[in-house]
């Protein structure tokens, strides 16, 4: 029978392949270890992971606390376990609930709340006695006083208030009206989700409500114009007679106000629609599209809470009417209050957006720190110089223009008002977004009040209450 000469190098080749295969396995085992050591906490803390619910058979769900130690949610033993929310509806959306599904912090912190770090001896004794161990506590970034001030200032009007710390991204307050009482959620549930109920109390308007941004969007139009004309943007002037006519279209200023001769700074401060409609025709629509993407329109937000995406629809080749409308924040553009707050926070923080977060740290029931979350930059939304220009312009809104309600000697505010039309013959949504102190920003406040009138008269005073509380005056 024919037979080939055996290959003398066969054993060496076998060794080479063996090393390669073993190397591949070492890589895979390394990945497995990395997953178990580093990635797993983020992976398993997911509302799709039904395994976590099993933990509650052996662990008493921990507390959710405000940054200064006030209890926002706790489990009480009264004829079985009851989850209690001492502040009622005030924190309803942001703290969320853990029956009927999980939302808000009850969902974000689920894993920590159901993990116990009591000492091992105590845990074993409890196991033997058949007693549940106490889960860890989640300490949030939320501030009870700011939340109260925002909630009271909104009163019984529909809307939302978002309060951020611009240099860290901490969410200090997040209010949405109308609310619901999480203590009686079980009894109210059928009504809350019924079709006859048009109030949408369960919706967190701060993160999930989408509104036309109105004149607060002039920040974006302005940024694009400044970006295209970095040295000459101040040369732009406009003569406003209350109604800007272009071809067959008319753009009116709010309540037909006549602003007269306007520099661009004045037009921004007075929120002159005619000036921005004219400005909008000079900008490059393709670049504008890119800018809005950079500012996270049509994109995912770096946010762990449930949220809606903001949308910007105008594309290259848009018709005149769409350009005129979009430039002043009407048209197809829609955004959430938290998104508006994030853009404002980036302006306040030299162009860098810090990732908004709610959990500051996790502590065991005995008060020992288990985990601490540090601020994390999400990226640059604009250059530091652009942020500085916008901050200066927003300061003038308060000192010279529509933001007079937040004009005070106690602390300098910078901001932008907006009155967004959403349906003819109905009141506009009132917007305000701003920060203070203007020269060294510590706090960002964004307010939207639905169907309530002008931003300067309705939304800015709500922000004023929050600023006053923060600065203690």
């Amino acid at each position: 029978m024919k037979k080939a000469m055996p290959n003398p190098g066969a054993n060496r080749s076998i060794l080479i392949v063996t090393y390669l295969m073993v190397g591949l396995f070492v890589c895979m085992m390394g990945y497995f270890g990395y997953f178990l050591q580093v990635q797993k906490d983020n992976v398993i803390n997911n509302s799709y992971n039904s395994r976590l619910d099993r933990f509650s058979d052996r662990i008493v769900r921990g507390q959710i606390l405000s940054r200064d130690g006030h209890v926002l949610a706790e489990t009480r033993e009264e004829e079985g376990e009851v989850r209690a929310y001492p502040y009622g509806s005030l924190f309803a959306h942001v703290v969320g609930y853990s029956s009927n599904g999980k939302t808000g912090l009850e969902s974000l912190g689920n894993f920590y709340l159901l993990t116990s770090h009591m000492n091992l001896v105590e845990q074993t004794v409890n196991e033997l006695a058949g007693v549940k161990n106490i889960g860890d506590n989640v300490i949030t970034t939320l501030d009870v006083n700011l939340q109260k001030a925002a909630g009271e200032a909104l009163g019984d009007r529909r809307g939302a208030v978002v309060v951020l710390e611009p240099d860290t991204g901490k969410i200090l307050a997040l209010v949405s009206h109308p609310g619901f009482d999480p203590n009686t959620l079980g009894a109210d549930w059928n009504w809350l989700i019924s079709e006859e109920n048009t109030e949408a109390q369960l919706l967190n308007r701060g993160t999930q409500g989408v509104y036309p941004p109105g004149s607060t969007f002039k920040i974006v139009t302005m940024l694009e114009y400044v970006r295209e004309h970095p040295d000459t943007w101040q040369d732009f002037t406009f003569d406003c007679d209350g109604v800007y006519e272009q071809g067959e279209y008319k753009i009116s200023c709010y309540h037909g106000n006549v602003h007269g001769h306007q520099t661009l700074e004045q037009a921004f401060a007075n929120s002159c629609n005619g000036a921005f409609a004219a400005l909008g025709q000079e900008i490059d629509l393709g670049k504008m599209r890119n800018l809005t993407e950079q500012l996270l329109f049509n994109r995912d937000l770096p946010l762990a809470l449930a949220y809606s995406k903001s949308s910007f629809k105008m594309e290259e080749g848009a018709d005149l009417w769409e350009i005129l409308q979009t430039s002043i924040g009407q048209g197809g553009t829609q955004m959430t209050p938290i998104h508006n707050a994030m853009i404002t926070a980036a302006i306040a923080n030299g162009g860098v957006l810090m990732k908004p977060y709610l959990i500051e740290r996790v502590e065991s029931a005995a008060g020992e720190e288990i985990k601490r979350f540090l601020p994390e930059a999400s990226g640059n939304l604009m250059t530091a110089r652009e942020a500085e220009v916008l901050a200066g312009l927003m300061r003038q809104v308060v000192t010279e223009g529509t933001g007079s309600a937040v004009r005070t000697d106690d602390y300098p505010v910078a901001g932008k008002t907006g009155s967004a039309e959403f349906e003819t013959d109905r009141e506009t949504h009132a917007w305000f977004t701003g920060f203070a102190p203007a020269d060294n920003p510590k706090i960002v406040v964004t307010v939207v009040v639905e169907e309530a009138g002008s931003g300067g008269q309705v939304a800015a005073p709500v922000a004023r209450r929050v600023f006053d509380t923060f600065f203690g005056s």
């Binding site: 190098g9 295969m21 997953f35 797993k40 099993r54």
Partner: protein, 442 residues
């Protein structure tokens, strides 16, 4: 109280498994036979203890007496398999027998916890497979005759795969199995073996350009039919096996590197051409984006592994049944969830240990035909472990192959027993030759 026992047993099981695994590698330190036998006896002790502790928990938690009977049946099987195998074939490699038993043991523990009926079925299949493959070492001499007929297995295997592709029943989007009279079996599990014999026989006769060309064409045909059947895991398995066997037969780096480049190009082409390939890759890159549907299986698997952590949840404390086909392709996730990440790593190390044994046999065989068979079967074994575990932990896209000896499934069990039987036979053959040689020189 039972919770405390489960908690304590968790660490005990990990400890026993770690001891067993360490012994597995310390075995290589011993050159003398008695040292090796001592290591193997310690391994047996660790395994029986682990087996006992796990079934004690299974019994206490479920309270079912049939579990005690089932446990005793398994003890009898292990004792008989380890004892009788040694009695009939004194020159066998004990450590490979031990490793087979340990992997079977882990599989049965997990299966009993998941589904008692399936565990019993698996047990019966193992008994039959063990009986059938008993004679392989005895008839291994006859395999020499098998080197004469490469085209028989080459074409037979290919024909079988084509039949599956045409009329096979569909499971999870792939044509894998044939059903006959209530039994369903997966031909690709057996074609894997005939394929290795085919390649070994061809290269035993000649490694000239013509032979390489023809063998490559037949191998490519196997791979192509598997891709068309959407059995991507097996396709990759055949590809890697062929390429490395070609490399060992020729030591030609040009073949190896061109093969890798060609495989890369073919993967890109398959990605462009077939939607089902793109789906798999998308579900791997970001399973969270489609968590309700295509990403469901792997995300549930990651939840299981992550929630279990290094030390596991303990038997019956997790929810492995949330993972689709957990007892087959995703059994590794169930092990990791309830018995812990350390335990799962030990399972992997045992698999690597088996592979190293295969490679040692390959190196020690003189005839290139035997060498290539031992090598090819070893590569197939390890690549399969890599594909299943890599898919389960999202290291690579999931390809839907089983973990040999651990996963539920008759075809997989029988073909793995065949593979281990052949390796065992080659080892014994070599050992007998050496002894004959020593005796004739004495």
């Amino acid at each position: 109280m039972i919770n405390v026992m489960i908690e304590v047993s968790k660490y005990l099981l990990i400890l026993l498994m770690a001891v067993y695994t360490l012994l597995n590698f310390s075995y290589f330190r011993f050159r003398d036979e008695w040292g090796q036998i001592r290591v193997c006896r310690k391994q047996n002790a660790a395994m029986f203890l682990l087996h006992f502790v796990a079934y004690l928990i299974l019994y206490l938690k479920s309270g079912e007496e049939r579990i005690v009977l089932f446990y005793l049946a398994q003890v009898v099987f292990f004792a008989a398999y380890i004892g009788l195998y040694q009695l009939f074939y004194p020159n066998l490699t004990r450590i490979l027998v031990n490793n087979m038993c340990m992997l079977l043991c882990v599989g049965w523990i997990m299966l009993t916890r998941l589904s008692f009926e399936k565990a019993v079925r698996q047990f019966l299949i193992v008994c039959v497979a063990a009986l059938i493959t008993w004679i392989i070492p005895f008839i291994i001499d006859r395999i020499w005759q098998l080197s004469r007929i490469p085209w028989v297995y080459g074409l037979l295997g290919l024909a079988l795969l084509i039949v599956v592709w045409m009329v096979g029943s569909n499971s999870y989007g792939a044509q894998l199995s044939l059903s006959m009279g209530g039994f369903s079996f997966q031909p690709s599990e057996f074609v894997k073996i005939s394929f290795v014999f085919f390649v070994a026989a061809v290269f035993y006769h000649s490694t000239d350009l013509f032979s390489v060309g023809v063998a490559t064409a037949v191998a490519a045909a196997h791979v192509l039919v598997l891709v068309l059947s959407r059995d991507l895991g097996s396709a990759l398995l055949f590809f890697v096996t062929y390429l490395t066997m070609l490399f060992v037969a020729t030591s030609n780096w040009f073949y190896l590197l061109t093969g890798i480049a060609g495989g890369g190009a073919a993967s890109v082409l398959a990605y462009q051409l077939f939607a089902h390939v793109r789906t798999r890759v998308a579900a791997w890159r970001n399973p969270w984006a489609d968590i309700d549907n295509r990403g469901y299986q792997v995300t549930q698997s990651l939840f299981a592994i992550g929630t279990g952590g290094w030390f596991g949840m303990g038997l019956y404390q997790g929810m492995p049944y949330k993972i689709p086909v957990v007892e087959k392709d995703f059994v590794f996730a169930a092990i990791s969830e309830e018995l812990g990440g350390i335990f799962a790593l030990c399972v992997l190390l045992i698999c690597v240990g088996c592979f190293l044994q295969f490679m040692m046999v390959a190196i020690r065989m003189q005839a290139i035909f035997y060498k290539l068979i031992a090598f090819g079967l070893g590569i197939e074994y390890l690549v399969q472990v890599f594909l299943t575990v890599g898919g389960v932990i999202k290291f690579i896209p999931s390809t839907g192959v089983t973990l040999p000896l651990v996963s539920y499934g008759g075809s997989s069990i029988l073909s793995t027993f065949l593979v281990f039987g052949v390796i065992q036979g080659l080892y014994i053959l070599k050992k007998n030759d050496e002894e004959d040689y020593e005796e004739s020189n004495a």
